[in-house]
Amino acid sequence: MLNHLSIEELHQKLIKKEITVEDLVNESIKLSKELQDSCNAFDFIIENPKNYGVTDNLLSGIPYGVKANYSTKNILSSGSSNTLKDYVPFFDATAIKKLNDAHAIIVNKTAMDEFGMGGTGTTCRTGTVKNPWDNTRMTAGSSAGSACAVAYGVYPYALGTDTGDSIRKPAAYCGIVGYKPTYGMISRYGVFPFASSLDHCGVLTRNVKDAAIVVDNMKGIDENDMTTWNSSNINLYKSITGEVNNKKLCYIKEICDISNYDNPSDELVSHLNNFKEKIELIRSNGIEVDEVSIDKKLLNTVASVYVVLSCAEATSNMSNLTGIIFGPKGEGEGVFDQIKDHRTKGFSPLIKRRFVIGSYVLQRENQERYFKNAQRVRRLIVDEWDKLFKKYDGVILPVGSGPAKKLDDDSNTLANGTTILEEHLQIGNFGGFPSITIPDGFINNLPVGLNITGKRYDDANVLNIAYKIESLMDYKNQIAERK
């Protein structure tokens, strides 16, 4: 087994010619097929990936996976949607182009909740993605296949996108690292949009340093994306020193304290206890961690603000899916019937529900009450977090209310996921904050994670702290061991 190694280790072996690119790619494809049978992780597996050779670049010659919503030239890019089931782009997303330049090798397109809308990994056009640690559990989503494949050791990393928590939650459920950098650090050009003001590109890996290496190769100002910024003075990989003198974190009492939850499940109790233990561990290793308080009323708005804004932008962003220029052409008399048919047949019920919500909150008579108010509350929440970042290097919080949920208990829909514990990661998208999830333990033999979110443009600091915390625990580079 080779692909369970870190990027640095693989690179050393390639340079020293102890292994070849073909060895890595063949193993990756073999594992992909194995995982496809057991967990249904992929939208498309590439049979003969191109090998551009090994260079000084740490990523050269190393296989990786790409979420199905990235445009990959000449490679099927469906967004896991039937509306694009045969869509093969003629151009690469900017992030893909950069990884191509690094001679990284795409071996598969990973399955996802259709167009990133969904947090379960159960709404992919190819079916449900199962958790590699326990096939009766979900991976969470929407970067379901990417999380599943990295946790299984198909390759050291896979690309994800994150609009609410779509990288960071599945990472926690699969026992790996999920990192979404500051908004605009990685170009979104060529990545299928869900909610443009919340969408982030990012990566899933098995250790923090790998995440830094990959994002170093993906980031940069892009003339095709006006929201990107110049980060040429930032080298995340080189900034990782493990030195954390004078670093300060905080956690939020209203989220982390068990007394906030009525009739907590055993899993929730264990999860929060585990988190408290890890906070003590962190404190005893030189990082100050304070408990802070945030108005519960404000915290309780997060989920609804997210629903209103993300659904509104989604219904707009997906208006290009008509079947006229690309995608299967709808049937019917005249163009409007054809568009209707294409969209009726192409989208899953979950997406249609969200379109209805999005249209409703944007209607002239509703806009002020829903959409504009949601934008205002988003600003209030971000202001509150900005205040925290004046004093703290990051906010540290547990991810979710425990380990991955059972697939037959598919209750993680927007309407039911109302607890702040399930939804607080969305704040990272509201503010465009750098945010990373790392594994922090096991409950009932299933991995759980914690998240660190920092201030905009402070990615290097956030990753360095995450790296330190990762090194205090035993979950680095872990591979899913199926029950």
Binding site: N69, Y70, S71, S77, G79, L84, Y87, P89, F90, F91, A93, R188, Y189, G190, V191, F192, P193, S196, S197, E223, N224, D225, M226, T227, A312, E313, S316, M318, S319, N320, L321, T322, I324, I325, F326, V335, F336, I339, S359, L362, Q363, R364, Q367, F371
Partner: protein
């Protein structure tokens, strides 16, 4: 009792801008006969594309906002306007409503030599849709036009006749052309208007609901639209022939009428919201300074100058300002010191006559203002006749030689002592004729003139020749 009604018109004028690339993509902005030649993935809304704002178009939009005396925003925002239509690849158009380029402006225009003022509600930058062509059982889409920058100028309901509306539009078209912001070529569909029409009574109270006629594309069609709606609404209001409602109509060229598209009840909710992919775009005061400096003197101001300061006729003034290059040429002549009226005559008659022969541009015209001055100066100091001047003008164009060259050959001999010596010599050699002349054969005077002309190859100044001859013969 007969009510006195008048029509009230507001215009939304869309004009395609000149630029190298489209307003939100790198696709080429250029008219092409070949369909779908000038397109980028952005223009066809392939999944994952993002808009990138064309800075040049922003500057041109600011320039127009400045000409229209608008308040120009410090940070511009763009909005998405949603509707499904096959010519709109993204399913929304990127336009501006939350914070457009400029608001609250005005512009003066003239109608039958009277200055009027149009109030501007706002001016905003947006993208054009693709061009649809409908055949009998199929339609084609040409995405060359998708994403072409459009400037939309929205006026207050400030026009009280079709004539006023047309005069305003003509003035606007000239401004676009003078500033080179747009060719504003109505024949190529570069100017399109939504026309809002209703009736008001003597107290300026609206008596009919507003009717919007969408996408009318030539000045004559706009004129006809207003005239038709005025008649239709008056008839409906006064004779109750049909119920008037707030509605959207379209102009039908064949029948020269307007036809209902939809009423307010089923008006489209465009679900506008701010485009998240274009961050607030700053318009700095430096940029505005730079832009203001690029604005040339505008046609109305030139026309006023020609009429009031130069005392040109209305016809000449109108001819001269029709086109900036001609007006610039004329102004250059005045700068060189050519008489204003003479220059106007030469430009409007001879030069435009020449240019009209082959539709060529005055920019490429061989006779520059400096050359024209050589000719006009020679007329004014009597070295050539106006007939000769026209000949030199023509020869100069054909041979591509400076008029000066011909003036040398053509110049009259007005050197008195030279002529006197010559005449003395001729008379001495023709003493018989002199005697006969003195004896009463006065027609022999012409014989002597002929001799002088023969010797000088016809260049002797005829008046001077006659004077000297008279003197010498009668001595």
């Amino acid at each position: 009792m007969e009510e006195k009604l008048h029509v009230v018109i507001g215009l939304e004028m869309h004009c395609e801008l000149k630029s190298n690339s489209k307003v939100f993509s790198t696709g080429k902005n250029s008219y092409s006969d070949t369909a779908n030649e000038n397109i980028s993935p952005v223009d066809m809304a392939f999944p994952g594309i993002l808009p990138v704002l064309n800075k040049y178009s922003v500057e041109e939009a600011c320039k127009m906002a400045s000409i229209l005396h608008c308040d120009i925003t410090k940070y511009m925002l763009f909005d998405r306007k949603h509707y499904f239509y096959p010519d709109l690849p993204k399913g929304y158009q990127i336009t501006q409503c939350t914070r457009p380029v400029g608001i609250n402006g005005y512009i003066e225009y003239d109608l039958s030599n009277e200055i009027k003022r149009a109030d501007i509600t706002d001016i905003h930058l947006e993208e054009d849709a693709a061009a649809l062509d409908h055949m009998h059982n199929t339609s084609t889409i040409d995405y060359n036009r998708a994403g072409v920058p459009l400037l939309e100028v929205v006026t207050e309901p400030c026009f009280r006749s079709a004539e006023e509306a047309i005069a305003f539009l003509e003035n606007m078209i000239k401004i676009y052309q003078y500033t080179n912001i747009s060719d504003a070529d109505t024949k190529r569909g570069q100017v399109r208007c939504d026309v809002n029409i209703s009736l008001a009574n003597e107290n300026n109270e609206y008596v009919t609901p507003r009717v919007e006629v969408k996408n009318v594309n030539s000045l004559s069609n706009i004129y006809n639209t207003i005239k038709y709606e005025e008649k239709r609404q008056k008839n409906a209001y006064l004779n109750h022939t049909e119920e008037l409602v707030q509605e959207t109509r379209r102009y039908d060229e064949e029948s020269n009428t307007t036809i209902r598209m939809r009423t307010k009840v089923d008006a489209i909710d465009y679900k506008y919201f701010v485009e998240p992919n274009i961050p607030p775009y700053e318009i700095s005061s430096d940029l505005l300074d730079k832009i203001t400096k690029e604005i040339p003197e505008l046609p109305l101001s030139r026309k006023q100058r020609y009429l009031n300061e130069y005392n040109l006729t209305l016809e000449d003034a109108n001819t001269l300002i029709k086109n900036k290059e001609i007006s610039d040429y004329y102004d250059e002549c005045i700068k060189l010191g050519i008489d204003k009226i003479q220059a106007a005559n030469w430009v409007t008659v001879n030069i435009l006559g020449e240019l009209n022969k082959d539709n060529s541009s005055i920019k490429d015209f061989y006779i520059t203002p400096i050359y024209l001055k050589q000719i006009i100066d020679s007329i004014n100091n009597n070295t050539i006749s106006s007939k000769q001047a026209k000949e030199i003008f023509n020869k100069s164009i054909v041979d591509k030689k400076e008029p000066k060259e011909y003036l040398k050959e053509n110049a009259q001999i007005s050197d008195e002592s030279y002529l006197r010596d010559l005449i003395n010599k001729i008379v001495e050699n023709n003493l018989e004729q002199k005697q006969a002349y003195l004896n009463g054969r006065t027609n022999l005077f012409d014989y002597f003139v002929g001799q002088v002309m023969k010797e000088t190859k016809g260049k002797a100044n005829p008046n001077m020749t006659k004077e000297i001859l008279n003197e010498v013969l009668n001595k």
